[in-house]
Every structure is written in C-alpha cells, then in structure tokens.
C-alpha cells in the first residue's frame, strides 16, 4: 500500500466519520435550532475531507482540480443554505406562538 493510498484512506475514514456524526446529530439534537449546526459541519468539514481523499488518490492534475472545485462548491452551497434555513426557521417559529410540540 503506497503512502498516497494510505493517506487517501485515512482522509476518507475521517470524512465519512464526520458525515455520519452529522447525520446522527440531526436526529439526536433537539429541534429546531440546535440541529442546524450539523448542516454546516457536513459541508464545511465532512465533504471537503472526502473530496481531499479523492484528490489525493487521483494524484496531481486536472482531475484533482475538478474534485476540489466540486468540494468548494459543496462548502459554499452548504454555508449559504445553513444561513437560509436558519433564518427561515426563526421567521416561521416566531410567527407561530403556539407550536405542536416539535
């Protein structure tokens, strides 16, 4: 096993672990505000770790650059949607003074 392959595997395991942690956090943490932190964790750390693992495995070149671009796109999109969902949740929760319990 070459060092590059080993490094890619380590990054992959770390990234998948972070992503599974975020999915678990979505269920365990109470709604509606606290669990939104899992969204930014998934797109800022989990997805870039996996993308980095893939880029290391692919080796230097245009294919790795394409993967890094996709990772950056996921990170940027996730940040924007976290803020949008957070704000929408605040606006909707404020508009309903009596909630059904979730």
């Amino acid at each position: 096993m070459t060092p590059r392959h080993l490094a890619a595997l380590v990054l992959l395991v770390a990234g998948v672990a972070v992503l599974v942690l975020t999915a678990l956090a979505l269920v365990v943490l109470p709604a509606p505000y606290l669990r939104l932190h899992a969204l930014s964790c998934a797109t800022s750390l989990g997805a870039p770790l996996v993308v980095l693992a893939l880029a290391v495995e692919t080796g230097p070149g245009r294919a790795a650059a394409k993967l890094l671009v996709i990772g950056a796109l996921l990170a940027a999109g996730g940040t924007v949607t976290t803020m949008a969902i957070g704000r929408a949740t605040v606006l909707l929760e404020e508009a309903q003074p009596k909630e059904s319990g979730h």
Partner: protein, 96 residues
C-alpha cells in the same frame, strides 16, 4: 468491493436513514433540514462511488447536484418563509 464502495454504502445507509427520518416528521421547515443534509450526503456518495466504480464521469452527477440542491433549498425557504424583505427577528426592517 473496495474502500470507496464501502464508504458509499455507509453514506447511503447510515447517512441517509437519519435524514429520511427527519424529513418524514414535523412541520415543513423542520423537514427541510433533512432534505438539505440528504442532498449533501448524496453528492458525496456520488463522488465516492465514481471512484469506487472507476468511472470518473459519475463525478458530474455530484457537480450538478452541488449546484441544484442549494438552489432547491433556497426555493423552499422562499416558499416557506415568504418575503425576504420582511423585518428580521430583531424587529428592524431590512435595508433595500
């Protein structure tokens, strides 16, 4: 079976199951959280499976999903929360 395919299985199973649980219960704005995380997990799963199967063209699926999933989430938030120029939670109106 290699490590990438195994990672794809883990992401699709252990990752998507909580998202579907969250997407199935509650008010619409609470379900949107599960849909958003599911989009991220599926995009990463596409990338990993592209490597596992050895077909780099599958990465384009992740690229398209990375563009469309946030756009879809923003469409949902616009539908659910309404006018983005409403006053914010602090009470002051938004600047134009």
């Amino acid at each position: 079976m290699n490590a990438w395919l195994l990672a794809g299985v883990v992401l699709s199973g252990a990752g998507l199951a909580p998202c579907m649980w969250v997407s199935a219960r509650g008010a619409p704005h609470l379900r949107l959280v599960g849909v958003n995380l599911a989009g991220t997990l599926v995009a990463v799963a596409f990338l990993v499976l592209a490597q596992g199967f050895g077909r780099s063209s599958y990465q384009d699926l992740a690229l398209v999903l990375g563009v469309l999933a946030p756009a879809g989430t923003l469409v949902f938030t616009r539908f659910l929360a309404g006018d983005p120029h409403r006053p914010g939670p602090s009470g002051t109106p938004e600047p134009e």
